[in-house]
């Protein structure tokens, strides 16, 4: 068992939120606080290997209505690293399959003395609805294509670790922007911290409308790759669409896969990121995903630190 770092002995300012629902409503200072806390946890626990039982007596529940590997695992590990109890709730094996509403399910679970609920749902706004109607803390672990705040934070933390600061960097999000909660959380977070954000993908998945959020819109990866400090390669979400928004996976890969040829056009120190799960050969070729500039596995480890920070911040926030 290790000591709590001094900066974490009292709940850090400026954090008063009992829910982490999105990055849109967070200030730059709040985002920086979350990143700092995550970094402290990471440093204090040998990359989140050791336990730091600052949330002993706290119980968190993972309420996942959509499949998840890394997010779910890292939230439950994060809770345990902090000494909290963590329980898993699987939608398929529950009363949800018997027709119970989300709110009734959540209230039932909450009445088992739950302190924090980590929610993933295919509907935007589901965690917001629970936050409004429950007493416990709510963390959004992905609500449809809306937001995935801890993914945004861990992506930004990864960039900060490699570049020192976010301000002034050019970060491109490439792929299915329209259906990506990761894209939305990254856009809000990165812009608040002063990055220039490019969203790049086929015009069916990246409309000109996005410019109104302050980002640059591109449909040509070759045109932007040389300017980028970071490329975040988003997965194509086949499961969310009716008429396929591009002719074929082959053509998509030709236009948007990050491959060896495009790496040659890129800055030498470019960071290659992917929130995963990655479709090898679609948005990124294996030699790039596994190459020297890839920080994909750093992202996963940072996921643990960010989720420790998220649980800690909301659980310690004043009621």
């Amino acid at each position: 068992m290790i000591e709590l770092p001094p900066e974490l002995e009292s709940p850090p300012v400026p954090w008063t939120r009992r829910h982490l629902l999105d990055l849109e409503s967070l200030s730059a200072a709040e985002i920086t606080t979350a990143l700092d806390v995550a970094q402290s946890f990471k440093d204090a626990t040998r990359d989140c290997k050791d336990k730091l039982p600052t949330l002993a007596g706290v119980t968190s529940v993972n309420l996942f209505f959509e499949d998840s590997t890394r997010t779910r695992t890292s939230f439950s590990l994060a809770a345990r690293r902090l000494g909290a109890d963590n329980i898993e709730f699987s939608a398929s094996s529950s009363s949800v399959s018997k027709g119970e509403t989300l709110l009734d399910t959540a209230k039932t679970i909450e009445s088992m003395q739950i302190d924090a609920m980590v929610v993933r749902h295919r509907s935007p706004g589901a965690p917001q609805m629970l936050a409004k109607n429950l007493d416990c803390c709510v963390i959004n672990a992905g609500d449809g294509p809306h937001e995935h705040p801890t993914q945004g934070l861990l992506d930004i933390l990864t960039i900060r670790q490699h570049r020192g600061a976010i301000a002034g960097l050019t970060v491109a999000l490439v792929g299915d922007i329209a259906h990506s909660r990761t894209a939305r959380s990254n856009i809000w977070g990165l812009q608040k911290l002063g990055a220039h954000v490019i969203v790049c993908g086929p015009s069916t998945l990246v409309s000109k409308q996005w410019e109104k959020l302050g980002v640059e819109v591109s449909h040509d990866l070759d045109d932007i790759v040389a300017r980028c400090d970071v490329l975040n390669l988003l997965r194509i979400q086949f499961e969310r669409q009716y008429t396929r928004p591009f002719p074929s996976v082959r053509e998509y890969a030709l236009l948007y896969a990050m491959n060896r040829e495009r790496m040659e056009q890129a800055k030498e120190d470019i960071l290659i990121m992917a929130p995963g799960p990655i479709n090898r050969g679609v948005e990124v070729t294996p030699e790039v995903a596994d190459g020297s500039q890839s920080v994909i596995l750093h992202q996963v480890n940072n996921g643990l630190a960010v989720r420790m920070a998220a649980l800690y911040l909301v659980a310690k926030a004043p009621r």
Binding site: T101, L103, P124, G125, A126, M129, G144, H179, R181
Partner: protein, 422 residues
């Protein structure tokens, strides 16, 4: 011999282009005089400072019975109509079973008579079983009392069926009411396609889905010479298409629901399922275009689009919650507060869109206070401030985002066939 004297009210009757302060005498269920002396009457209602209007008519109401009584019944919907100031409503046939047989129409009329609140007219299915495949027995249904034909909130997607309906109904001089929605463009959409949907990640419903269908419907109306009423108009494109069609003399009318001029898609930011309606709450530019359309007469009618849904159905997250909003009890208040008060419409125009024109479209002998007409009267206090309280609703459902809103303007007295109902 029963008489009611409406004293000293401001009579606004667009059917006779009247707007003056007078005394009105109702006798034995009909309008007896518009210039009555202050004689003896069984009942005297002081209408000083109030508007006396021909009874309001809501031509787009879901009553949900038979089949969905957890949402609304014919009796509870009719009671809500009275509270909202309506003396007549027309129900659309999205019931279970759908209203596509004389027996089902008879059922609604019987239940409405037993409820004894407002007049209830039936808009019957345009297609048998509301399946969008073959015409319903329109002649038989007219015989049974149907005043119009529609597949309710489900658009008639098959253009040949719509063409046939527009041709066939001409024999009976009945309108075809269609919801302009191209479902291949809306799919699992939840809200208006715009910046708010982009930020929230909620599946978009593009305005073009309405416009494309409205244009198609108008073309078919024009070719057939039939009578088309576009239900639930909400987009600037549709308003413009309609405006041009009307300039050509096409026999198309259109309606809007209050939510589509009183709210924008910004309301969805709170993820309130009560704001999930179809057509969706649109962006401010569409709302402005709709208000302009109301002003210049492109949009003929204001109807509630009353769509009650039991709370257990609306208690779901956005993607799973059903569309719909209860509106009978707020339509007049929202029209007064959002259209008349800011000067978009005069009271005469508002009453025309809430009474005279819907009566004309449905071909029912209402919407007028001409001497000899049915004594259906709505008395409106245009300056009465009130607060929407869904817990007090007469409607069985309370799916309404206006709870707690302060509105100005309300019906204070409602008379149906010479009988005071409110």
């Amino acid at each position: 011999m029963s008489t009611i004297l409406l004293k000293n009210g401001r009579l606004i009757d667009p059917s006779q282009q009247l707007d003056r302060v007078t005394n009105i005498l109702l006798k034995d269920g009909v309008v007896a005089s518009l210039d009555a002396q202050e004689t003896y009457a069984d009942r005297v209602i002081d209408a000083t400072g109030k508007i006396v209007a021909p009874g309001l008519i809501d031509m787009h109401v879901q009553l949900r019975e038979p089949g969905w009584e957890e949402d609304e019944t014919i009796a509870s919907g009719a009671a809500a109509a009275i509270v909202g100031g309506f003396t007549s409503i027309a129900c659309i046939p999205n019931t279970e079973p759908p209203l596509d047989s004389p027996a089902s129409i008879e059922y609604v009329r019987h239940k409405a008579a037993r409820a004894d609140k407002c007049n209830v007219f039936v808009i019957a299915c345009a297609s048998s079983g509301r399946k969008g495949e073959q015409l319903s027995e329109i002649g038989t249904l007219v015989e049974a009392g149907a005043v119009g034909f529609s597949d309710a909130s489900r658009a008639i997607t098959n253009p040949e069926l719509l063409r046939r309906a527009l041709e066939y109904t001409q024999m009976f001089d009945k309108p075809v009411l269609n919801r302009p929605e191209l479902i291949e463009l809306t799919h699992n959409g939840v809200m208006h396609d715009g910046m708010v949907s982009l930020v929230l990640g909620l599946a978009p419903i593009p305005a073009a889905a309405e416009d494309v269908m409205a244009a198609r419907d108008i073309c078919l109306c024009e070719t057939t010479g039939g009578r088309l009423h576009l239900m639930s108009v909400s987009s600037s494109g549709t308003v413009e298409i309609l405006r041009r069609a009307k300039a050509r003399g096409v026999r198309t009318t259109a309606e809007i629901h209050p939510c589509n001029f009183a709210l924008t898609d910004e309301a969805l930011r709170e993820f309130d399922p009560n704001c999930k309606v179809n057509p969706p709450l649109r962006s401010a530019d569409h709302v402005a275009a709709c208000i302009a359309g109301l002003k210049d007469g492109t949009i003929d009618v204001i109807s509630s689009g009353h769509a009650p849904r039991a709370s257990q159905k609306k208690m779901h997250e956005m993607t799973d919650a059903p569309f719909g909003m209860v509106s009978l009890e707020t339509t007049l208040g929202l029209t007064a507060t959002k259209l008349v008060r800011p000067g978009h419409l005069t009271w005469s125009q508002a009453i025309d869109k809430l009474s005279t024109t819907p009566a004309r479209i449905l071909g029912v002998p209402k919407g007028t206070l001409m001497v000899g007409a049915d004594a259906d009267v709505t008395i409106i206090d245009p300056d009465l401030p009130w607060t929407v309280d869904t817990s007090q609703y007469a409607s069985r459902s309370s799916n309404c985002p206006f709870d707690g809103w302060k509105l100005i303007g309300k019906a204070t007295n409602v008379i149906v066939g010479g009988v005071v109902k409110l």
